[in-house]
Symmetry: C2
Subunit: 294 residues, 2 copies
Amino acid sequence: MSKNLSRREIITRAVYAVGGAATFASVQACGSSAATTTTPSTGPTPKDFPYEQHLPAGYQLDPAAVKEPAYHAYYEADGGCCHGSYSALMKHLAATAGAPFDQLPADFGRFGAGGIAGYGSICGSILGGVLVINQIVSNPAARGAMMTDLLRWYEGASFPSYTPATVDAAEAQKPPTLDFSAGNLVNLQTTPGSHLCHASVSGWCAARGVAANSPDKLARCSRLTADVAAKVAEMINTYLASTATPKTYTAAALDSTSATCLGCHPKTSTTRPVASGMSCAPCHADKVPPNVHP
Amino acid sequence: MSKNLSRREIITRAVYAVGGAATFASVQACGSSAATTTTPSTGPTPKDFPYEQHLPAGYQLDPAAVKEPAYHAYYEADGGCCHGSYSALMKHLAATAGAPFDQLPADFGRFGAGGIAGYGSICGSILGGVLVINQIVSNPAARGAMMTDLLRWYEGASFPSYTPATVDAAEAQKPPTLDFSAGNLVNLQTTPGSHLCHASVSGWCAARGVAANSPDKLARCSRLTADVAAKVAEMINTYLASTATPKTYTAAALDSTSATCLGCHPKTSTTRPVASGMSCAPCHADKVPPNVHP
């Protein structure tokens, strides 16, 4: 699926240079004064979707390089978690792979903060990652597996784990009360259990004894955003490195407790069907072992 | 914020036509054979985000016109609810407002089916709508209010309510067992309560006694997709009709039961903070009246 963009780019640029020169020369020679700014239409455009086809053979992102930008973008005005992961990944793609990533607005993820406009739905850092995966992956089955894998990984991961190279100016102005130093970070970690911002943020804040609008919450979620952005980069790299045709990706299996639930509540049930790929326990603790099923 | 695109378009097209003709004439006259395809760079591009600035003054979508395409797009291979609402709205915008909507892939929403890759997260038809609102609205406060309003509306609306003009070929091939005729549709309606696909689909299917992977589920969700797409068009119209500077939008208030919950569980609490804009009852029935609070 991948094409060699270096080659393609060279050709595109050469055609453009020749074409531009020819047009300029002819306009000069013929004395026409019509002034139109033109751009080549031979390169990839946002409509040539998905964008895996425009990546050079062997292309890989640098997961370490997206962490710090993701962390700082979180603290921008009208920023947040979705903007953090989305903009860091898209800017990295634009800088390292060019078109059409550099023709898209890196600001597209600002809406997703706090589980979409503070609603507490899907964690914005995941949503930003999902949107970037969707830009690239051409195989629908692999795309679905990657998104499922990202959601499951998030639910079971310990956050936060990134320590920024430089504390953001906004964080320094209103510093957290907890100790976010690299050595102590492990003591601040919890596993969200759910991919919903509402549960992830409320649970962490309650466990740490801090408010959900505190500087501590911001310090936690900005670092989590860096963690998620790097994970998305790693996942895309795994997919791009697939040698299968089309490229494949395998998601982690559903946890065993939830798998047991679906044994009696499959999609095919006409009495209690369950349409879900997520873990059951976080929202239905009363219905999973060791509790009694009602 | 809005510019008159008709005027702008006329100018752009005129410049392009003149430029194109001049280049062609000069190339012909001077005998150059360099063949470059050029596109005008004077019109709006996807990077000129958000796109409200490119809409003609007084622009409005036609909510009725997006319903049928949204319903049919749901049934496409690798289609679904998010693709249904997103592609119907984006194609309508491309056809009626032009650039940059016509420079973006209408296929971007295919990932969102079944609450993102079947995971049961946010209903894809809402997510598709959220992504379209995000393309347009430039005022972050209004953008957030619109997304909140869409999510709250969905949770309390009765679905499905649209009756397609033509039954989709895929639906006709595997028809639902329930009576989806216009006269009987009211008897098939339920209120999702939650904006999550998992709860919305599982709840409706259980209430109707059908499987979550049945033709009945498809018939329900395809019509719901049309309902949501039209609602999003109406909301964007309300926003665009705002005469305030910047344009404003007011979301419906949180339901009174949930508002009571947040009285004791505000974001500012350091013991049980709740970060959420959604309704509490659907997931915490054991904690809201008339049940006893644990």
